[in-house]
């Protein structure tokens, strides 16, 4: 094995297929998107170079900033929900009855496709036949809440399934990390007289800090570029009340046939995600705690 790995040609041979795919499918399109973003292009006819016009339009586009605000809210919500996921994972990783079964139950939403989840929640939110409204009615609540068509609540209504969708994913990550903490450390703390809460906060959490950082980045960046559930459930509506950056980009490029502007939004979105990732890394930088 060492022999193979020390041979530079062999390394190149192993790396090349994946590298070629990543380049062709990810980096080339990114460069192209950046290039289209400088053009005025309807996706069909000739392109016209307009320099940074699309970007100056972007800065002044209130609809875009509204969608950016919604995406930011989603990022905030998903970041906060990480705390709840972590709490669940802490409980599950303790020696409680049925932890195995619960873990599987939490994981199920992750196995469903976004479109299936969207269809499911459309039924749940249906104004007259939906589960939520039927339940409210049976509790004696008067009037109908129009979950997906009331501009004041549509955003919250759509955040709930998104957060629900990813619960299993993050719980699984935290669970795996927590299970990796050597029991000798936990036992030592217990002998020293720490109660379960102290063990969780003072021993376990610091030990999984590196994993937590990764999940924060995943949650925030994932939210900023979120698209699928919103596209299926509300299509950004009513009148942009649930639009996020990615759905706005789709709208501009594929509905208004403004590929130049759509590409500019896409590229800008990429920049935002990069900056945010860098920022989170900077803010959470600190010494790694190792157990050994």
């Amino acid at each position: 094995m060492d022999k193979v790995m020390s041979n530079k040609k062999m390394i190149a041979l192993y790396v090349l297929p994946a590298l070629a795919l990543v380049l062709a499918l990810i980096y080339v399109p990114i460069v192209l998107t950046g290039y289209y973003g400088l053009m005025k292009w309807d996706g069909i006819g000739a392109m016209e170079f307009v320099g940074l016009d699309n970007y100056s339009r972007l800065v002044q586009d209130s609809a875009f900033w509204q969608s950016a605000y919604h995406a930011l809210l989603l990022a905030l919500f998903s970041a906060l929900s990480l705390i709840a996921y972590l709490a669940v994972a802490l409980v599950l990783s303790g020696e409680i009855k049925g932890a195995n079964l619960l873990r599987k139950i939490y994981l199920i939403p992750m196995l469903l496709s976004s479109v299936a989840i969207a269809q499911l929640w459309l039924k749940i939110y249906h104004p007259t036949n939906g589960v939520v409204n039927s339940l409210l009615a049976s509790l004696g609540f008067e009037g109908t809440i129009e979950w997906l068509s009331d501009t004041r609540i549509v955003l919250i209504a759509i955040f709930i399934p998104i957060i629900w969708q990813y619960a299993g994913f993050y719980i699984l990550i935290y669970y795996a990390a927590l299970k990796n903490i050597p029991s000798s450390l936990v036992e030592a703390a217990r002998i020293d007289g720490a109660n379960p809460l102290q063990i969780a906060l003072r021993v376990k959490l610091p030990l999984i800090a590196s994993v937590s950082k990764v999940t924060v980045v995943l949650a925030i960046v994932g939210s900023l570029k979120y698209f699928d559930l919103i596209y299926v459930m509300t299509d950004g509506g009513p009148n942009g009340a649930s639009e996020v950056m990615a759905s706005y980009m789709y709208d501009q490029a594929f509905r208004s046939f403004d590929f130049g502007y759509g590409s500019a939004i896409g590229f800008f979105l990429l920049l935002i995600c990069l900056v945010v990732t860098w920022l989170i890394r900077k803010l959470t930088a600190g010494e790694e705690i190792q157990y050994s």
């Binding site: 069909i44 068509s149 990550i173 995943l218 698209f227 509506g237």
Partner: protein, 458 residues
């Protein structure tokens, strides 16, 4: 031993995130698929190069359409039948089909045009969809094909929807108008008559509403559904020209009748005329309110006719109880009751850079004629060519609609099709805002006016 563990954690994270990423990447995959099939699309075009110009030689025509055997069985069968007939009559011609589902079809058409690789014959939609392709000189004008009587066989006004600067670039296959369907059983239960005037209509809405029945089924998440209501009100108030002129910039969108139409929409909303939560429901969900008898009326295109006549999966009892009426006239308004909102659906184009353009035009002409003979009887699709109702066997509702079509004084093309794509998006968003009472009728008109002005200034 402990040293190994952080690695496992890292692996789990990496694996899990890879799983999550595949979910996000699904939209990309579509694009790739289109890109890959694109190269496949080149092959027949190259084949054509060999058969150049000389028509007596072997000719391969490539046709792309959007009726897969799975979801549009009847249409697919008719296409195959017409192609078989044509190949029999012209043994030197081979027609190759490529079939894609609606959305994929649109995407692929765009990809192919970017590389100037359109099929010889394909399908397009009217006006706003067609214009960029014409401006990009991708479609061939078909005026010479229309000469010699073919033009007269079309319902008047249908080919014009495919015209840019006086030249026609596609021949329509489908034609749809939008009647108001109503549930006769519900109407008779509350002793209601089909409304002749808008005042009658308002009374019907009021009666139904006070009896706890949703008067109108609407799924306005799709937005064009609400646009139909606005368009009819605009037509009945200001006549067909007002809206048309506002869009083609010879008039203004801030015309009093267009503002009044927006006010009337909000009056309907205020009177709870539509089912609850309509702005969050898709057209299919809105339709189901009508189909399961919860709502009494439904304004929709004639493409729904099979559901109310021949579709066996819809209960017979329901099908028997569906009728239709024309959108009532408004007192003092300029509109005529025989003016319809509607328009041609897909039409056939011939690619400008097709190597076998003449043969393709010949085929398109043949196709349109044969399609007109078969589509309504076999697939329930109303063709854009005139149908002689005395010669065909059809359910009564079809006959009635076709007769109405014969009497039609005007067909106003769907607003979002008339407008350029960017303006159409403004229109559709504004419609949703208007129905949701987030925008005042005056601002509704003003926003349209600004979007149209900006587009015209480009």
């Amino acid at each position: 031993m402990f040293k190994k563990k952080p690695l496992t954690v890292a692996m789990t994270v990496a694996l899990a995130s890879a799983l999550a990423l595949t979910g996000c990447g699904s939209s990309n995959n579509n694009g790739n698929a289109a890109g890959e099939t694109n190269t496949g699309g080149n092959a027949p075009a190259e084949g054509n190069a060999g058969g150049n110009a000389a028509t007596a030689e072997k000719v391969t025509l490539k046709m792309m359409h959007l009726w897969p055997a799975g979801s549009s069985k009847q249409q697919n069968m008719i296409v195959n039948d017409i192609i078989a007939q044509y190949q029999e009559a012209n043994p030197n011609v081979t027609i190759k089909q490529e079939i894609l589902e609606n959305e994929q079809y649109k995407n692929k058409l765009k990809v192919l045009s970017a590389s100037n690789d359109l099929p010889d014959v394909g399908m397009t939609w009217a006006a706003g969809f067609l214009t960029p392709y014409v401006k990009g000189q991708l479609f061939a004008p078909l005026d010479d094909t229309l000469e010699g009587g073919l033009k007269d066989s079309f319902v008047s006004g249908t080919t014009e929807a495919y015209a840019v600067d006086g030249k026609t670039y596609a021949l329509p296959l489908e034609l749809n108008i939008t009647p108001v369907y109503y549930n006769k059983a519900i109407f008779s239960k509350y002793n209601l008559e089909v409304p002749q005037t808008y005042a009658d209509f308002q009374k019907v809405v009021e009666t139904l509403q006070s009896n706890g029945v949703a008067p109108i089924a609407l799924g306005n998440k799709d937005r064009w559904t609400g646009s139909l209501w606005y368009m009819y009100l605009a037509d009945r108030l200001g006549g067909p020209e007002t809206l048309k002129n506002a869009i083609n910039r010879s008039g203004s969108f801030e015309d009093p009748s267009l503002v009044k139409a927006a006010e009337d929409v909000q009056a309907l909303v205020n009177g709870s005329a539509f089912n609850k939560g309509f702005n969050g429901l898709s057209n299919d969900e809105g339709k189901s309110e009508f189909m399961n008898g919860k709502a009494a009326m439904y304004l929709m295109g004639t493409w729904e006719l099979p559901n109310f006549t021949t579709n066996e999966s819809v209960p017979q009892e329901f099908r028997d109880s569906v009728g239709f009426f024309k959108f009532p006239t408004i007192e003092g308004g300029k509109g005529n009751i025989d003016s319809w909102v509607g328009g041609p659906g897909v039409g056939l184009f011939v690619a400008e850079n097709s190597k076998v353009k003449e043969e393709a035009k010949k085929f398109v002409k043949f196709f349109v004629e044969k399609w007109g003979e078969q589509s309504v009887t076999k697939a329930g699709v109303i063709p854009a060519t005139k149908v002689d109702t005395s010669k065909v066997q059809l359910p009564q509702m079809y006959i009635d609609i076709l007769n109405e079509l014969g009497k039609a004084s005007n067909i106003t093309l769907f607003a979002d099709v008339q407008m350029s794509p960017a303006v159409a998006q403004t229109h559709l968003n504004m419609i949703q805002a208007l129905f949701g009472k987030e925008v005042s009728p005056a601002d509704f008109a003003k926003n349209h006016e600004e979007a149209l002005k900006q587009e015209a200034g480009k």
